[in-house]
C-alpha cells in the first residue's frame, strides 16, 4: 500500500531503483525456478533424449498415461498417502498436547522446549540413518525392546524386508522429527489467546475440557489450518527418508512418489517419465492448495 503522493520524477527514479533491487532475485528465480518449471512441463510430453534433446520424440500424454496405468506408481501413491495420513495426524495430536503442556507455568519449561526441538534441527540424512539402524533386522534397538524387554514378539522382525513393515521406520522418523516443530507453532498460537478469557470461563464454571473445546480449539483454527496445509504438502513431497531407509525395496514396493520420480529419471535416464510423475504430483498438490486456501479464507473464530 503505497500512499505517497505520485511525484513524477521521483516515481521514475523509484522505478529504476526498484528494477535494480528486483533484478538479482528474479534473475535467479527465472534461471533456476521458473525456467525449469516450464521446461519440465515440456519434457513431460516427450520421450526425452538426454544426450541429444533435439532428437526427443513428442509422445503427447503417453508418459502420463503410462504412469497412471503403472502398478509401481499406484503403490508409490498409496505409500505416500498412508505416510502423509499417519504422520500428519500423529504430529498434530502429539504437537498440540505438547504445546498445551509446555504453555503452563512449570519448572524447566525452556529446557523442555529446547530438548523437544533437537530432532527438528538434526538433518534428515542423519535421522533417517539413525532410524534405519534402530530398525535393523538382526539386532536393532527396536527388535530388542519388542522381543527381550516387552516380550511382544518372539523372533526378530526383518523390518526392511517387508513392503508394509518397511514403512514403519519411515513414518516414525517423520513423526519423531516433526512433533517439536508442530508444538512450537501451536505454542505461538496459544500465546495469542488471552489468559483473561480462559480465567473468566473458569470463574463461570467451565471445565478444562469445555475450555479446550469451546475456547482454545476454535481460536487456534487459523494455526491448525496452516499446519494441516504445510504438513500435508511436506508429507506428499517426502523424499529423503524413503530414499535412505527403504530405497524402494523390496521390489519397488516402498517408493514415495518422489523416490519413484528420481529412479525413473536418474537410474533409467527416462526424463520424460520422471517429469510426468513430478507434474502429476504438482497437479495434485496444486488442487489441494486451492481447496486449502479456500478453507483459510473463511472467517476465523466464531
Amino acid at each position: 500500500m503505497m500512499s505517497r503522493s505520485p511525484h513524477a520524477p521521483r516515481a521514475k527514479y523509484q522505478f529504476v531503483s526498484a528494477l535494480l533491487f528486483l533484478l538479482p532475485g528474479f534473475l535467479l528465480l527465472f534461471v533456476f525456478f521458473l525456467g525449469p518449471l516450464v521446461y519440465s512441463f515440456r519434457i513431460s510430453f516427450f520421450d526425452w533424449n538426454f544426450a541429444h534433446p533435439e532428437r526427443s520424440v513428442f509422445v503427447g500424454f503417453e508418459n502420463y498415461l503410462g504412469q497412471i496405468n503403472n502398478p509401481i506408481f499406484h503403490r508409490a501413491v498409496i505409500n505416500t498417502a498412508v505416510y502423509t495420513f499417519f504422520t500428519v495426524v500423529a504430529k498434530l495430536v502429539l504437537g498440540f498436547f505438547a504445546a498445551i503442556v509446555l504453555n503452563q507455568k512449570i519448572p524447566a519449561r525452556s529446557f523442555f522446549r529446547v530438548a523437544y526441538y533437537l530432532p527438528v534441527i538434526t538433518s534428515w540424512v542423519i535421522v533417517s540413518l539413525l532410524f534405519m539402524y534402530m530398525f535393523s533386522g538382526m539386532g536393532g534397538l527396536v527388535n530388542y525392546l519388542l522381543k527381550d524387554v516387552f516380550h511382544l514378539i518372539n523372533k526378530n522382525i526383518i523390518w526392511l524386508a517387508d513392503p508394509i513393515l518397511a514403512l514403519v521406520p519411515v513414518i516414525l522418523v517423520d513423526i519423531w522429527k516433526g512433533v517439536g516443530w508442530v508444538a512450537v507453532i501451536f505454542l505461538s498460537g496459544l500465546q495469542t489467546i488471552s489468559k483473561e478469557l480462559l480465567e473468566a470461563a473458569e470463574m463461570d464454571g467451565a471445565t478444562p475440557w469445555q475450555r479446550l473445546t469451546r475456547i482454545t480449539l476454535p481460536l487456534l483454527r487459523g494455526t491448525t489450518v496452516f499446519l494441516v496445509v504445510v504438513l500435508i504438502l511436506g508429507g506428499l513431497n517426502s523424499y529423503v527418508p524413503f530414499q535412505l531407509i527403504t530405497h524402494g525395496n523390496p521390489m519397488d514396493k516402498t517408493h514415495s512418489i518422489l523416490t519413484l520420480m528420481y529412479r525413473a529419471t536418474f537410474s533409467r535416464m527416462d526424463f520424460g517419465n520422471g517429469a510426468a510423475i513430478s507434474y502429476l504430483l504438482t497437479l495434485f498438490v496444486f488442487a489441494l492448495s486451492v481447496v486449502q486456501l479456500k478453507m483459510l479464507n473463511k472467517p476465523i473464530g466464531e
Binding site: R4, A18, S40, F97, Y117, P119, S123, Y133, S136
Partner: protein, 277 residues
C-alpha cells in the same frame, strides 16, 4: 484448589518427561554408538554407556574418505549460499515493502509460487540447466540453487519485518535527498537485526543439510558435501554404524552451536514464518 494445581503440575511434568525420553533415546543411542568399537554395534542388550568406550570411530571418520574435505565443502557452500540468500532476499523484500513499481502484485505472486512448488520436482530441469551453464559437478551449482530455493520464503518473511520499521525515519532521510539504496543500507537493514538473523538460520540449515540436489549435481568425490558423504559412507560400509554416527555428530556440531547461540531467534523464526507463511 492449590492441591489440584500441584497435581496438574505433576502430571504435566510426567508427560513432558515421557516425551523427553522418546526424544532422547534415539539421540542417546546415536551418541553411544559413536563411541562403541565395531564388535559392540549389534550387541544386545545395547550398552547405554559403552565400556570400553573408544574415540577410534571419530579418528577414522575424520581421516578416511575425504571427510574433512566434505566438511569444508559444506562450510563453503552453506556460508556462501546464506550470504547470497540474505543479500538477494533483503533487496527483494525492500522493493516489495517500500518501493512503487508496475506489476508489483503480479511479481509478488510469482515469488509466492516458489513456496508452493515442491523443490524435488524441479530437479530434472535444474539438472539440465546446470549442465548447460557449466555448473554441473561444482559447488557454485549448489550455491545458486540453494539460494533460489530459499528466496521466496525468506523474502516473504523479510517483507513483513521491513514493513514494521517505522516510516518516519526514512521520510526524514528522503527530505535530505537520500536514495533508496542509502535508506535500505543505513536505515532498514540496521533496524531489522532479528529478522535477518532468522534468514541466516533458515538458509544456513537448509544448505547444511540439503541432500537431494547435491546428490544429483555432484559427481566427483572432491566436490561432495557432508550429507552426501555420510549417506554414501553408510551405503558403502553397511554395518559400520559407529563411524557413521561419529561423522554425523561432527556434522551436527555447527548446527548445535548455531542453535544455542540463536536459540531465541530460532523459535521466533518459526513463529514468524509459521503464522504468516
Amino acid at each position: 484448589m492449590r492441591k489440584a494445581n500441584h497435581l496438574r503440575n505433576f502430571a504435566s511434568i510426567l508427560i513432558l518427561l515421557v516425551g523427553l525420553g522418546v526424544v532422547a533415546i534415539p539421540i542417546w543411542y546415536m551418541v553411544s554408538t559413536a563411541f562403541k568399537p565395531q564388535t559392540m554395534v549389534f550387541e544386545m542388550p545395547p550398552q547405554l554407556w559403552p565400556n570400553p568406550a573408544t574415540i577410534n570411530n571419530f579418528i577414522k571418520a575424520v581421516t578416511t574418505d575425504h571427510f574433512l574435505l566434505y566438511f569444508w565443502n559444506s562450510v563453503k557452500v552453506s556460508i556462501t549460499a546464506t550470504l547470497l540468500t540474505l543479500t538477494v532476499s533483503s533487496m527483494l523484500a525492500f522493493a516489495f515493502a517500500r518501493l512503487t513499481f508496475p506489476w508489483k502484485e503480479q511479481l509478488f505472486y510469482v515469488l509466492l509460487l516458489g513456496m508452493m512448488v515442491p523443490p524435488v520436482m524441479l530437479i530434472i530441469p535444474q539438472f539440465i540447466v546446470s549442465q548447460k551453464l557449466g555448473l554441473y559437478n561444482n559447488l557454485t551449482g549448489l550455491i545458486l540453487v540453494y539460494a533460489t530455493m530459499n528466496i521466496s520464503m525468506q523474502t516473504f518473511l523479510l517483507r513483513g519485518v521491513f514493513e514494521n520499521v517505522p516510516r518516519e525515519l526514512e521520510e526524514a532521510a528522503m527530505i535530505d535527498g537520500a536514495s533508496p539504496f542509502v535508506i535500505f543500507v543505513q536505515i532498514i537493514l540496521p533496524l531489522s537485526g532479528p529478522g535477518l538473523a532468522v534468514v541466516v538460520i533458515n538458509s544456513f540449515l537448509y544448505s547444511w543439510e540439503e541432500f537431494t540436489w547435491a546428490n544429483v549435481n555432484i559427481a566427483d568425490s572432491a566436490n561432495r558435501t557432508l550429507p552426501i558423504g555420510i549417506a554414501l559412507f553408510q551405503s558403502e560400509h553397511l554395518t559400520e554404524w559407529g563411524q557413521v554416527f561419529s561423522a554425523s555428530l561432527i556434522a551436527l556440531v555447527p548446527v548445535i552451536i548455531l542453535f544455542l547461540v540463536f536459540q531465541r531467534y530460532f523459535v521466533e523464526g518459526i513463529s514468524t514464518t509459521g503464522i504468516k507463511g
